[in-house]
Amino acid sequence: MPEFIIGAVAWLPHGLQVTILTVLKILAIMIPLVLSVAYFTLAERKVIGYIQVRIGPNRVGPRGLFQPFADVIKLILKEVILPAGANRGLFLMAPVLALVTALCAWAVVPFDQHLVLADVNAGLLYVLAMTSLGVYGVIIAGWASNSKYALLGAMRSAAQIVAYEIAMGFALVGVLVAAGSLNLREIVLAQEGSALHWFWLPLWPLFLVYWISGVAETNRAPFDVAEGESEIVAGFHVEYSGITFALFFLAEYANMILIAVLAAVMFLGGWLSPFEGVLDLERLAGWSPVAAALLGPGIHWFVFKTALFCFLFLWMRATFPRYRYDQIMRLGWKVFIPVTIVWIVVVGLGVVFAVPPWFD
C-alpha cells in the first residue's frame, strides 16, 4: 500500500482507516479481475475463432478490442424477465450468490510474496470451501426458474460438482502434505529452487487430477453438461436474461481464472521465476537491473502462468467433444479418487524419507 494513501487517511479514527484501506485493497483486486474477465471472454471468442479457422469478433473498436464493453452495455440494457412460475426472491438471489462465492476466494490469493489481501493460515481450506459454495448459485437458479431444462441442468451440475470436489480436495491434500502448510504463500515458498522444484513434477498425477477437476467444477467444456446447449438449451441459466445472465457469466469466468490462478500457485510456483537456479540473478542484476527484474521472481510470472492455464481452458473447449454424463461420473469417482489416494501415500512416503530435491 503506497505511503500517500496511508497518509491521506491518517487523520481518521483507526477503525475507519482500516475499513477504508481494506476496501481500497479489495478494489485493487476486483477491478483488474473484472477487466480480466471482460477480456477473457474476448480472448475466448478470438482463440476459438482462430482454432476453427475463423477471425472472431473484429467490428467494435480496433481489431474488436472494445467488444467486451459492447457486450456488457447490451446485457445491462436488456430487460430482466421473471418467468411466470418462478420463485421471485430465489430467482434473483441465485446469480448474486454465484458471483459472491466466486469472488470471495480471491481474498487469499498471493499475487506476490507480500501482495496478498488476507494471509490466512488455512488459506487452501478456505479456497476449497468457497469454491464448493458456488454450486448453490447453480442449484437455486435451476430450481427457482421453475423450468424443466433449468432443473435438469442444476441436478447435473450438483452431482458433478459434488463428485469432482472430492477428487479436487484430495489433490489439494497432496499439495498440503508436500508443502507442509495450508497457507498459499507458504505453499509457493516451499517450491523455491528451480522449475524442477515446483510441485508439478513430484505431484504430476495430482496436478492432472486437479486441473481436470477444476475444468469440471467450473462446468466448462468438455464437462459442460450442466449447460449442454445441444441437449438442454442452456441448462440452469436458460430462464435468465439481461444483467442476471451477465452475473452468471461473470461468476463462471471469475471461477475459471481462479482455478487457473490456483493451479499456478500450487503446481507452477506462483510468482517464482523459471530462471531461478538456472541463471545467476545476482550477477545479472549488477549487469542489467531491468533484465534481472524481468527474469527474477515477480507478479509478471504469476500473471503469465495464469494466462497459460486460461489459454488451456479455451484450447480444451475448442478441441474436445463433450463427455457423456455417465463417463463424467465414472471418471470422477472410479478413476480420479483412487489415483489421488495412491499418490497421497506416495507423497507421504516422500516426505517421511525426505526425498531430495523436493521434500528435504
Partner: protein, 219 residues
C-alpha cells in the same frame, strides 16, 4: 465493541434462520435456511479464532451435505397444503416432546454447569488454530480419531451393502470395454477398384463423382 456487534448480528441471524427452518412452508426454503444457519454458526466460530472448525463446517456441511440434501428435496413433488393439515392436531404431541427435550437439556447442562464461560484470551498474532488442532488430533487423540473414521467407513459400506443388489436381466454399459475398443473393431475400410462411370447421354457428364478416390485400406 465491534466484535460484540458482529457476534450479536450473526447470533440474531442464526436464531432467526434456525426458527425459519421449522416454520417455513416450502421444504426447499427450509433447507436453504438451514444452510444459512450453518454459515452463520461458522462465522461465530471464526470470532472464537476456531478457523479450522469454521471452514470445515462450511466445507463439509454447507458445501457437500446440504447440496445433496437440496438435491433430494428439490426432486420431491410436494403439495404444500396437506403438509399443514395436521398441525393443530399434532401440536400437543409436539409440545410434549419439546418439553421432555428441554427438561433433559436442563438436567444435563443445568445448575452450575450452565454458567457463562469466561471469554478466552485472544491469541497472539501468528497463532494457527489449524496446526494446534492437527497436532492434538494426531497425537493425543489419534485412537479416538481413527476409530471415528472407521465407524464412518462402516456406515458407508453398510449403506452400499443395503442398497446394492444383483438384478437379473439388468443391462448396463461396460466402460472398460468401451474404452478398449479400437477402430478395427467397429470400422472396416475396404479398398475399392477405381470405377469411372460412363457419362450419361444427357447433360450430367460433369457430375461423375466416384472417380478413383477410394480410401486406402486401414488394415
Amino acid at each position: 465493541m465491534f466484535e460484540q456487534f458482529v457476534f450479536y448480528f450473526f447470533a440474531t441471524v442464526l436464531v432467526v434462520a434456525g426458527a425459519l427452518v421449522i416454520t417455513v412452508r416450502n421444504p426447499v426454503h427450509a433447507a436453504l435456511c438451514l444452510v444459512l444457519a450453518f454459515f452463520t454458526s461458522a462465522a461465530i466460530w471464526l470470532l472464537l479464532e476456531a478457523e479450522f472448525l469454521a471452514i470445515a463446517l462450511v466445507l463439509v456441511y454447507v458445501g457437500a451435505v446440504m447440496v445433496l440434501f437440496l438435491f433430494v428435496v428439490m426432486m420431491l413433488d410436494i403439495n404444500l397444503v396437506p403438509l399443514r393439515e395436521g398441525f393443530i392436531r399434532y401440536l400437543p404431541v409436539g409440545i410434549g416432546i419439546a418439553a421432555v427435550v428441554l427438561v433433559e437439556l436442563v438436567i444435563v447442562l443445568g445448575g452450575d454447569r450452565l454458567g457463562v464461560l469466561p471469554v478466552p484470551e485472544p491469541h497472539p498474532a501468528g497463532y494457527s488454530n489449524t496446526r494446534e488442532l492437527g497436532e492434538v488430533l494426531y497425537t493425543v487423540y489419534v485412537y479416538p480419531f481413527e476409530i471415528a473414521a472407521v465407524i464412518l467407513l462402516v456406515a458407508i459400506v453398510a449403506a452400499i451393502a443395503l442398497t446394492l443388489r444383483r438384478r437379473e436381466g439388468r443391462r448396463g454399459q461396460r466402460p472398460e470395454e468401451q474404452v478398449r475398443v479400437r477402430r478395427a473393431d467397429r470400422v472396416r475400410l475396404v479398398s475399392m477398384p477405381a470405377v469411372r462411370r460412363e457419362p450419361l447421354a444427357g447433360g450430367g457428364a460433369a457430375r461423375g463423382s466416384s472417380d478413383g478416390s477410394a480410401p486406402e485400406s486401414g488394415e
